[in-house]
Amino acid sequence: MKGTGEVPDPVADPIGEPLPDTLAEPLGEPLADPAGAPAGEPAAGVPRLVLDGVEKSFGPNRVLRGIDLSVSAHEVVCLIGPSGCGKSTILRCINLLERIDAGRIVFEGVDIAGPGVNANRVRRRMGIVFQAFNLFPHMTVLDNVTLGPRRAQHQSRREAEARAMELLERFGLADQAREYPDRLSGGQQQRAAIVRSLIGDPELLLLDEVTSALDPELVGEVLSVIRDLAHGGMTMVLATHEMGFARDVAGHIYFLHEGRVLESGPPEQLLRHPRQERTRQFLRRVIEAGRL
């Protein structure tokens, strides 16, 4: 996966506008300091995404209590932590499916959580894949994949389907293109959902525990797709319980606990020599469950 669309696409490239142009889109006011990474974060190159003090509550329940994190271009970042630590909420906030209460979410130099941001435009430049696939059950796989390009980007059916078939073929789903999702295995459904999120050539892919709803024997096929994407340079943020996988693909791992980043670091350091007692406890349980 070439991922970011720098390579000219032979087929019509939906996001193929030149970079300065996309930045000129009224996403919001550019910040004075686009690379506003929190101090002490390992920012290799200009960060594609920065979360700065993000807070989110659902009623009295404070789910995120000041999240700082930074994702460079072509970097894979994994969020790990016990259930309810806020992993999924972070991803939903980045995709603007949830409005944050405080903090900044800086994507490509623009604070997308700020006022006057066109959420639809932002979402077109990101992809998100959900735990439960969330394919549209009343549409074929092909229609699922082409809905975004056709309706949000006003491509013709032919154009969108040509591109979709190309991607489906690459992910081994060409034969399932005309099937409805309920005829597919869980692994196939999740791969179809990944294709759907990739069709707009996103600059950032968010993956929310994409293997948690799968039967164990189907997890591998989905993980290998993600691994390929990582090797292809796709910028990704994954919430995951697959520690072994996180160790293999992540450039940086954040351990979350009760809505805070408790510690973060490269996989080797964080998974082998965690500094925090909570991290050690969590990893011990994961190892006992045979997931690492």
Binding site: R124, A132, P137, H138, G148, R151, S197, G200
Partner: protein, 297 residues
């Protein structure tokens, strides 16, 4: 269960034969064997006895011959039929127009009601007020108020045709209910479908249009069909405005001849129209249920 090992099966009902063919008769037989044929016999006999006693009571009552003459006179049936059938054709047309308008208008109301964000607050309030109002007023009153009230205002350009106001009353009243049916359908679609549509860059409206509504409507088709059967009969209520539809024509015949058989003619017509729809509704719901449970596997 109809295998040869079933010792509880009544004698004669089974044998050690080939596996049962899943016909309706076979299913009944299997169920009878399960619940006990004795119970079925008791149910059947008691039903026949009850109906027999009821029929006997009616047929042997002193006034039966009189009732028979007044309500079931073949000659009057034949005589009143053309007018009543002609009126029924008007019922059918009013029904068809009203049903189309209801399905469209109610969907609009339901969509407005499920829009999010503070910008749509006034529209949402309007939808809620409308629904509460028209679900609270008896249909007959809506028909009377609109049918007699609005033309009495004598405003230029406002139609005075009772058929227009009768159909309008039906549409307003039924749409309030139907909007709630649609809304139930919209709410039955999981929130994650909306999130998923929005994440593709679709607008709120596009998410509703392409992702939510197709699923929502499919979920409530049986309920919508049920409302259709109900409307088919309630069209007759507009007869209070003097519209010469089937019931009105039957009344006119009765007033002229003092014979009520014309009402039977109208009854027959309404039944002929509604029973097929009711059967279709049942068939569709069953098929839909079967398809869903299959999809779950």
């Amino acid at each position: 269960m109809a295998s040869g090992t079933d010792v509880h099966a009544p004698s004669g009902a089974t044998g050690s034969g080939p596996p049962p063919i899943p016909t309706r008769l076979g299913r009944w037989r299997a169920e009878l064997g399960h619940e006990g044929a004795k119970g079925a016999v008791i149910a059947f006999v008691s039903t026949v006895v009850f109906l027999g006693v009821a029929a006997a009571l009616v047929l042997t009552s002193d006034s039966w011959p009189k009732v028979q003459r007044q309500f079931l006179d073949p000659e009057s049936f034949r005589e009143s039929w053309p007018e009543v059938a002609g009126g029924f054709w008007l019922d059918v047309r009013m029904f068809l127009v009203a049903e189309v308008l209801i399905l469209v208008f109610a969907l609009g109301v339901a969509v407005i009601r499920s829009l999010r964000g503070p910008a749509f607050f006034p529209l949402r309030v309007l939808a809620v007020v409308y629904i509460d109002l028209f679900r609270g007023i008896p249909l007959l009153l809506v028909i009377l108020l609109l049918g007699f009230g609005v033309p009495a205002l004598e405003i230029d350009g406002v139609p005075r045709d009772p058929v227009f106001w009768g159909v309008t009353a039906l549409v307003l009243s039924y749409s309030a209910y139907t909007a709630e049916v649609y809304r139930a359908g919209i709410e039955s679609v999981n929130e994650s479908q909306r999130a998923s549509a929005l994440s593709l860059g679709l607008t709120q409206w596009q998410a509703l249009r392409y992702a939510i509504l197709p699923q929502a409507v499919r979920n409530v088709v049986p309920a919508l069909l049920n409302g259709l059967v109900s409307l088919q009969k309630d069209v007759a209520l507009v007869s209070v405005l003097g519209i010469r539809e089937a019931v009105r024509e039957a009344e006119i015949y009765t007033a002229r001849t003092f014979n009520y058989t014309s009402f039977i003619a109208a009854t027959v017509l309404f039944l002929l129209a509604s029973i097929p729809v009711a059967r279709f509704t049942d068939w569709y719901s069953r098929r839909d249920r079967a398809r869903r449970s299959q999809a779950m596997l």
